[in-house]
């Protein structure tokens, strides 16, 4: 047994300390950061001021219509316009979801862009996405866009194996020609450093970004190149001490403080191949990227991108305020996505049908006493989704009582106690003990039983809404 380093005295209490300064319930749990973090880079300690993130202009960008759409059959124009409209509601008047990007190659792509802009929303701003081909700027210009993303893949896997450049210099010159074309067209280039977490950082990435910065000095500020760090294969690692090219802190440090790319021109774009996508996005914010690129419900190439709704709650947790975001629009978007055939797993955070549904009777008992015990935050207020229980043989009378109260919308003293639900609780238990059932009981079955066992409540609370 290891030697005791410090004794800890019980702080006895007769009243609970619910830590409400961190867990306010009407907001997601806050992420309060104190002081700075230290990362050793090139043998020297470097400080990162995490506390400053509360006041830094960090923002979210969206690529639901580009990377998100690469992972599924194309959306119709009507669907994209509806999604854009709801994205704008989430974004709010402060434009927390600042930009979203569109393909520009087909007639449908261009019509979608026009229809979205015709809605007249300030945010998300519409930007384009093109290949690193000079001629493609005609499309951007014709669409009247001020900014476009362009592929500037930077690992040797891409430079040599995919794009078949003969040398890195040939590759860099080619990219820079396209950047020059963007400047000439009066379009701001956003250089997507594809596969950066598998690239030779010192040998290619930093020299290329140095050159981008030099070129940007020759143009007005509003045209200066932005840089998107694309963790194409999800190799990025957030841990302090991780080595380049996988280290997100070191990557951002190199671009931000060595190459001098300002934070408001740096963006992180992740993939979820190693289950790190959301935390990697948050890490990018903390270490100096102002923008984290996301997709709705994480839909994106292969395993997907940082989920926009996850970034939204991370943003609120870091800022300590909703900043004008309409979080309930997330639930509307989830319903809409399901209605057009996009599957969202039942247990998917914030948006799955069962994300705040508990199945264990003992948890349902906790919910019944104080919903904060087993609900992450006030999901009724922030997502229009009160906590629920799914009824199985493990639900117990507590679970059944909670289901009945939620179903009838009963609050406070109007709530029915579990003695009053004994007939329904018995029916549930008999389904398993007597009938040998092995599946959860559906809401439809429970509703039929609720009508049978609680006719007074049914008449009072269910007939009036019809």
């Amino acid at each position: 047994m290891s030697k005791v380093k410090k004794k800890h005295r019980l702080v006895d209490a007769k009243a609970p300390n619910l830590l409400e300064d961190i867990f306010p319930y009407d907001l997601p749990p806050l992420i309060r950061l104190q002081g700075s973090a230290v990362e050793h880079i090139d043998g020297k300690p470097v400080e990162f001021d995490f506390e400053a993130v509360k006041d830094r202009p960090i923002l979210i960008t969206d690529t639901t219509f580009r990377d998100g759409q690469q992972a599924r059959p194309p959306y119709t124009i009507e669907q994209m316009v509806r999604i854009y409209d709801l994205l704008s509601r989430i974004s709010g008047p402060n434009g927390v979801v600042r930009q979203t990007e569109f393909f520009l190659y087909t007639k449908n792509d261009r019509e979608t862009l026009d229809r979205c802009r015709a809605l007249g929303h300030d945010y998300p701003e519409c930007t384009g996405w093109i290949r690193a081909v000079k001629g493609d700027f005609r499309l951007v210009k014709e669409a009247g866009l001020k900014e476009t993303g362009m592929l500037t893949s930077c690992s040797d896997y891409h430079i040599f194996q995919k794009l078949k450049f003969r040398t890195r210099k040939e590759c860099m010159d080619s990219y820079c020609e396209v950047v020059e074309a963007a400047f000439e067209a009066g379009v701001r280039p956003r250089c997507h450093l594809e596969d950066v977490t598998r690239a030779d950082i010192e040998g290619f990435v930093l020299p290329f970004v140095d050159r981008l910065m030099e070129m940007s000095e020759q143009v007005p500020e509003e045209l200066s190149a932005k840089v998107r760090l694309c963790d194409t294969m999800g190799f990025g690692v957030s841990y302090p001490g991780a080595e380049l090219p996988r280290s997100i802190p070191k990557l951002i440090y190199k671009l931000n403080r060595e190459c001098g790319v300002p934070s408001d021109r740096l963006e992180w774009h992740g993939h979820n191949d190693f289950h790190k996508v959301h935390v990697n996005g948050g890490t990018a914010w903390l270490y100096g990227c102002d923008f984290v690129n996301t997709t709705l419900f994480g839909f994106g190439e292969r395993t997907g991108n940082p989920p926009l709704e996850g970034a939204i709650f991370e943003y609120i947790a870091l800022k300590g305020d909703t900043c004008g975001i309409d979080t309930c629009a997330i639930s509307e978007l989830a319903d809409y996505m399901r209605s057009i055939g996009l599957p969202i797993p039942e247990n998917y955070p914030f948006a799955g049908r069962a994300f705040n549904t508990t199945r264990a009777g003992i948890h349902a008992g906790g919910l019944r006493q104080d919903e904060r015990i087993y609900n992450i935050f006030d999901t009724a207020k922030l997502l229009s989704r009160p906590p629920r229980v799914a009824i199985t043989d493990k639900s117990g009378a507590d679970g059944v009582a909670h289901w009945v109260n939620e179903f009838f919308g009963l609050r406070g003293d109007d709530r029915i106690n579990k003695i009053r639900v004994h007939k329904l609780a018995r029916w549930v238990i008999d389904q398993y003990d007597v009938e040998g059932r092995l599946t959860a009981i559906s809401d439809q079955e429970l509703e039929a039983k609720a009508k049978e066992f609680f006719p007074d409540y049914w008449d009072k609370y269910k007939t009036k809404v019809k």
Binding site: G396, N417, I419, R426
Partner: protein
Amino acid sequence: MATVEERVKAITARKLGVDEIKMEDSFTADLGAESVDSIELVAMFEEEFGIEMDEDAALAVQTVGDAVKFIAEVCRQQGVEIES
């Protein structure tokens, strides 16, 4: 009219399917009542005596003897006549 003890024992015997019930019997350990049985018993006692019991207090009762005392006290509080 039967006493509280006789009525409690009769309901318990009917509900749990046991023949002989002693005052010191635990509803769960001795008589085999499961979670839903307990709330059904409370509901049956309420109906039998025409009373309303506090849920937490009623479900905290462990033995038949304690249930008899508890129900008698609730009847007294709620003005329900019983045979002692």
